[in-house]
């Protein structure tokens, strides 16, 4: 019940937040300029950039790439040298080279896939500087890219003064990053972090605590309880669709999520900014019905997949059948959350592209596995900050192309024609996902020595496929059950992480840049409008066809096969 409340509250909060974000990202003057203006000017001076300088899509993409490379080098260096750096009270050693590479890429791409346990493998310094910086900046990068693409779809900021074919101004990357960080993400993190600390999440620089368990049968002489500045990291983890927690088991650990109220606040903050992006997009393009279309499409998929996950988890675990009569699947779940809330969290965290977990997805029934994998394959049901909306736009463009043909006109979106160049770019993205995911899954499965699966057959395939899918979707949640800290897993996921992030940002930018320079036709009776129920329905069909048709065989050999074989056994 509380989850519906949380969801409703998130939508309610997202509305004003989205409008505020539109004001911020459009660079309109506001009363807050007095507070933020001087800080921003300081940052611009330090970066030596002119925030008024317009960038065409190439310049914007280059700035995006440049900042990524710089952050990558810095963060990776921190991880490789953390043993010698300050703020390391527990004496944590340097990270292995491949885990460092993987971790850097993982946080840089807003994925936060963790092949390590934070509390034992990262120093306070690493967590507080490298990890938190990336957790703040990587969602902002997605937001900046989305804003640039939206500008492009309307012809760029210089639309009124440019002629057909001239490069268009999609905004200034540095200004977008700075404004979004200072005016949106950081203030919200501060609020949530304070609230979580009040609820008991640790915020300290002291080292790990030690205790002696009361129950001697636990077989542990001493228990080490790692603490640290956890609450700021949890705040950005949830708000920034990051998902990488301080602790290995993530939000299932009481220290990250101590009370029902903290759980409620975290659940609200997971979809908050992705939803606000939807309202922002509507305000940006000046069409409220556009927001409604996005909500309708994403909402329908959300309800369908969430229902699947919850229904599935209310069934008993097949392994426990006969032991507990008709009990829901409690294997791998926190007693505090129960089956339904855990399933809801799993559905939400894979749809919103957050990736923080409060239950072991590996132990869920196959239906929930199918739901979470589908959510990540579609990767635009709310989605990551900015990137979810970019994913939506990609599907919208493809749908508009097919539907535009069916209305007898050269397909167009917001009056700008989709032609061979745009379709080529979008096709590259369409092709990339199955090649990367299926190729690596097949290869990894064929060489069992490197995979380290804990399960054979259908479930083992699900584990491997889930790992790559999560990496490609920049989700970061783990199915667990894999020996994932090995060089193979680190490096193959490193590649998939990059493939899932950079093309998904750069290609929409290129499409928007190319669309922007076209002459815009005013809408008439014969033009296809995207903000209609018919188009929304067509989009759902395209998403299901494109995202799921390509992965039907692998899903059949994974969760669906597992499901069918389990039900076949139970009949017997």
């Amino acid at each position: 019940m509380s989850i519906f409340l949380a969801f409703g509250l998130a939508v309610l909060l997202a509305w004003p937040l989205g409008r505020y974000m539109a004001v911020v990202m459009q660079g309109r003057a506001s009363r807050l300029d007095v507070v933020f203006g001087p800080v921003e000017r300081l940052i611009y001076r330090a970066l030596r950039v002119n925030p008024e300088q317009g960038m065409d899509w190439r310049a914007y993409a280059l700035a995006f790439l440049g900042s990524n490379v710089a952050l990558f080098v810095i963060a990776c260096t921190v991880f490789l040298t953390q043993a010698w750096l300050p703020l390391n009270p527990d004496g944590i050693p340097n990270m292995s080279w491949h885990t460092a590479l993987h971790t850097t890429m993982s946080f840089l791409t807003n994925t936060d896939q963790q092949h390590y346990s934070g509390q034992t493998q990262l120093s306070y310094f690493s967590q507080m500087t490298a990890i938190v910086t990336l957790q703040v900046l990587s969602p902002v990068m997605g937001l900046a890219a989305l804003v640039a693409v939206l500008r492009g779809m309307l012809g760029g900021r210089n639309a009124a003064t440019s002629r057909e074919g001239e490069p268009r101004d999609l905004g200034n990357y540095w200004a977008d990053m700075t404004r979004a960080t200072l005016r949106v993400v950081l203030p919200m993190c501060l609020l949530l972090s304070l609230a979580l600390t009040w609820q008991g999440v640790p915020a300290t620089f002291s080292g790990a605590h030690q205790g002696t368990p009361l129950d001697a049968s636990a077989g542990m002489a001493k228990q080490v309880i790692p603490v640290g500045p956890v609450s700021p990291m949890v705040a950005i983890k949830q708000l920034g669709t990051n998902g990488g927690g301080w602790y290995g088991p993530n939000s299932a650990v009481p220290l990250e999520n101590p009370t029902p109220l903290s759980n409620f606040m975290e659940v609200v903050s997971i979809p908050l900014i992705p939803m606000a992006c939807i309202f922002m997009a509507g305000a940006f393009v000046g069409r409220r019905r556009f927001t409604m279309l996005i909500f309708a499409v994403m909402g329908t998929l959300c309800v369908a997949l969430t229902t699947l996950a919850v229904t599935s988890e209310q069934q008993p675990n097949a392994a426990a059948r006969g032991l507990i009569a008709d009990a829901p699947n409690m294997e791998g779940k926190e007693q505090r959350f129960g089956a339904v809330d855990s399933a809801l969290w799993a559905a939400m965290t894979t749809q919103v592209n957050n990736g923080s977990v409060d239950a072991m997805h590996d132990s869920m029934n196959p239906g929930a596995g199918l739901s979470t994998m589908s959510a990540m394959l579609i990767n635009m049901i709310w989605g990551g900050i900015g990137c979810g909306m970019l994913g939506f736009l990609i599907y919208m463009w493809i749908t508009a192309f097919v539907c535009g043909l069916m209305t007898g006109r050269t397909p167009e979106v917001f009056g700008r024609k989709l032609e061979t160049r745009e379709i080529k770019l979008l096709s590259a993205l369409l092709v990339l996902q199955p090649i990367a995911l299926l190729g690596l899954t097949a290869f990894t499965l064929s060489v069992p020595s490197i995979t380290g699966n804990s399960n054979p057959a259908f479930h083992g395939l699900s584990q491997v496929f889930y790992e790559y899918t999560s990496a490609y979707a920049n989700n970061g949640s783990g199915f667990a059950g894999l020996a994932s800290g090995t060089a193979w897993w680190d490096m193959s996921c490193f590649v998939v992480l990059a493939l899932g992030r950079f093309p998904a940002v750069l290609i929409p930018l290129a499409v928007a840049g190319s669309l922007a320079a076209k002459r815009a036709a005013p809408a008439g009776n014969g033009t296809l409008r995207v903000e209609t129920p018919t188009f929304g329905f067509a989009m759902l069909a395209v998403i299901v066809l494109f995202a799921l048709l390509s992965f039907m065989p692998v899903l059949v050999l994974g969760p669906i096969g597992e499901w069918l074989s389990l039900s076949a056994h139970s009949i017997r």
């Binding site: 083992g460 329905f537 692998v554």
Partner: protein, 680 residues
């Protein structure tokens, strides 16, 4: 879909025996790799066929059972042949249509005018651009060109099918002639406008023939998308054995090829070239010669249509519709005076006045007198009767000066009447004698029958119509209202047309323009679609990107429809093709793993007889759907004038929902037919 797919091709579309044979041969010759590589989807099927054939042979030579693999190979081969056949049929039809036009001028001879003025007889094929030929009554015009001397009536039936002769005259906007048409009277000198092999018709023929056919922009974009889907499914199928091996299943290569071919969009891939060619054919059938396939496709995007009023919206000849006396003049007096003034007037206006007066009961006999014709100086016409009565009719301002010359008072109500007629779109013609002003004859430009409905249809499709006229704003507004155009330009000069087109284009709209005069040429060239009348000047025909052989300006509606139909047919079949994949998955996936993963049998929702029959049924459906849809591809999805939203809903329902459901039924049906012949 039900009616459009199932019904046979229209009678005009049926192929004769020779064309059918040509198409059958074409479907085999198109197997050559160079032709096949033009179409990535079908090329993939062709490669799959070869691989499957290799596996069949290997099995045959090693003594393993190979019947199944052979059946798969043969069905795959059929799939490729069917796709080739679709393209070949479309080409054969187009060639047939074009050839019948071209044959009319084959082996013609021409009288070329030499520099010294004499004539020499040469073959029509030896004529070059700029040559002048003299054509006498009863002879065929040897090449496309312009009449530069003389006037003649010409029978264009051979090209346009219209038997009524048309008049072509040097130095007018109706000076264009087409090769292969016949001069019925008089002698004309024609300047040849094209080199052999470069006439519009030759270019049109090239457009329908595969080799030189260029893909249109939308076709190219769609090909890219289809190629991407093919690659996606290649990845799906190629990685399947590795994944299957992990769960302990073996996937047979031939079955994987079958799965691949079923998944990739073969239906649209196979029919795509045919759809494009058929679009050109439909244009040709409507007697429109397009200079590129792109032009036809762009027609579907038109937002604004500029039309000349005269000859397009109205008949162009003003007809008398009303007599309005002024002052204390009686009706009959005006009527009889107007009749007398017009009896000897040869113009259509004059004749229409006589006709109207007779209809209104005038019985006055012809009186002898001297006819005063209209001249540019006097700007009036009339008659000086024996007995001294002088009757005149003319424009209002001319007649006012006539009145003041003869020192007579102008009745007070004259200006009101004149203005009322003008506002209603008519032309007021004031009638007077030497003593008093009698009244006004209202001449109206009669709007063509059915034009209003056509504009309404265009509006429903989102096309705005703009009427261009040299009339004054009052007249223009009245005719615009009567014809139902959305906007009009009054007192327009040629440069105004060009500016209007540029303005609309700057606003992002696609503009079509219909024109025939030399002064229309810049506007025709500037417009996104320039439809030139074949009767127009050579300059106009060169400037436009389409020529209408019938010289019917409302034909643009047909062109818009053909353009839209092209895109809709492609989009609908793409949707259909993709939607089909759902059922094919349910047929093939359980079949592939039937042996090793029996649990997946639950996915066999169609309860197909056996794995073998399931795969074969899906493949047979996949192959047969191509020839089944050839008629639809050739004729195009029917386009009704409706909003984009309604059109999308309709097509999604038919081709999307239908595309999901139909294969479930069809595959099950094929399975029932096949099951007696395949083992369990």
């Amino acid at each position: 879909m039900t009616s459009s797919i199932a019904s046979p091709a229209s009678p005009r579309g049926t192929l004769d025996r020779a064309a059918l044979r040509e198409a059958l041969i074409g479907s085999v010759t198109k197997l050559s790799p160079r032709t096949a590589a033009r179409n990535p989807v079908m090329f993939t099927v062709a490669v799959g066929t070869v691989v499957s054939a290799a596996f069949t042979l290997r099995a045959a030579f090693t003594g393993l059972p190979f019947g199944y693999a052979l059946a798969v190979t043969l069905i795959l081969l059929l799939t490729v042949l069917f796709a080739n056949f679709a393209e070949a049929v479309a080409e054969a039809r187009g060639r047939g249509q074009a050839q019948s036009l071209r044959s009319t001028r084959a082996e013609l001879s021409a009288r070329r005018v030499r520099a010294d003025g004499g004539e020499e007889v040469v073959a029509a094929t030896a004529l070059r651009r700029g040559d002048r030929v003299r054509v006498y009554a009863g002879e065929a015009i040897p090449a496309d060109g312009d009449v530069v001397e003389g006037v003649a009536s010409i029978n264009e039936a051979a090209v346009t099918g219209e038997s009524a002769p048309v008049l072509r005259e040097a130095g007018t906007d109706r000076s264009g002639v087409i090769g292969g048409t016949w001069v019925l009277s008089d002698v004309i000198v024609v300047e040849v406008a094209t080199d052999p092999g470069d006439s519009f018709l030759d270019r049109m023929i090239a457009l329908v023939e595969g080799a030189s056919r260029q893909k249109t922009p939308n076709e190219m974009a769609l090909t890219v998308l289809l190629a991407a889907l093919t690659i996606v499914f290649l990845a799906v199928v190629a990685t399947l054995p590795g994944q299957a091996a992990f769960v302990g299943a073996h996937a047979d290569t031939v079955l994987l090829i079958a799965l691949l071919v079923c998944l990739i969009p073969t239906t649209i891939g196979g029919l795509l070239p045919a759809i494009g060619i058929a679009g050109m054919n439909r244009a040709l059938k409507a007697n429109i010669i397009a200079k590129s396939g792109k032009a036809v496709e762009v027609a579907g995007d038109i937002d604004v249509l500029l039309l000349d009023k005269t000859g397009t919206i109205t008949h162009g000849d003003r007809r008398a519709t009303l007599f309005i006396p002024v002052g204390d003049v009686r009706d009959a007096d005006l009527r009889d005076a107007a009749l007398l003034a017009s009896l000897a007037d040869p113009t259509p206006e004059g004749k229409s006045i006589v006709q109207l007066a007779r209809e209104r009961g005038s019985v006055i006999e012809e009186k002898s007198g001297e006819f005063v014709p209209f001249t540019a100086q006097t700007r009036m016409s009339g008659v000086n009767l024996v007995g001294g009565r002088q009757l005149r009719k003319g424009a209002s301002d001319t007649m006012r000066s006539w009145a003041s010359d003869h020192a007579m008072a102008v009745p007070a109500d004259l200006s009101t009447v004149v203005e009322r007629i003008a506002r209603a779109g008519g032309t007021p013609l004031v009638v007077a004698d030497e003593r008093r002003v009698l009244g006004v004859v209202a001449l109206s430009d009669v709007v063509k029958h059915g034009v209003r409905e056509r504009f309404a249809q265009l509006r429903a499709m989102g096309v705005r119509t703009v009427m261009i006229t040299g009339d004054n704003p009052l007249t223009a507004a009245a005719i615009a209202a009567e014809a139902g155009v959305d906007d009009f330009m009054a007192e327009a000069r040629p440069e105004d047309k060009l500016r209007r087109i540029r303005d609309e284009q700057t606003g992002g709209r696609m503009v079509a323009m219909v024109g025939d005069g030399t002064n229309d040429a810049p506007a025709l060239a500037q417009a996104d679609i320039g439809l030139a009348m074949n009767s127009g000047t050579q300059a106009a025909r060169e400037a436009g990107n389409m020529v209408d052989l019938d010289s019917d300006p409302t034909k643009l509606l047909a062109v818009v429809e053909i353009g839209k139909q092209l895109l809709i047919t492609r989009g609908a079949l793409t949707t259909f093709s993709l939607a089909n994949d759902v059922a094919k998955y349910f047929a093939i996936i359980p079949a592939i793993f039937a042996g090793s993963l029996p649990a997946l049998g639950a996915l066999n929702v169609m309860h197909l007889h056996s794995p073998v029959s399931a795969v074969l049924s899906a493949l047979v459906f996949n192959a047969l759907i191509i020839p089944a849809l050839i008629p639809l591809a050739l004729r195009g999805v029917r386009v009704r004038p409706m909003s984009a939203e309604a059109l999308l809903r309709r097509n999604l329902l038919i081709y999307g929902a239908g595309g999901v459901l139909l294969p479930f039924v069809a595959i099950k049906a094929i399975d029932l037919l096949l099951s007696p012949f395949v083992g369990g």
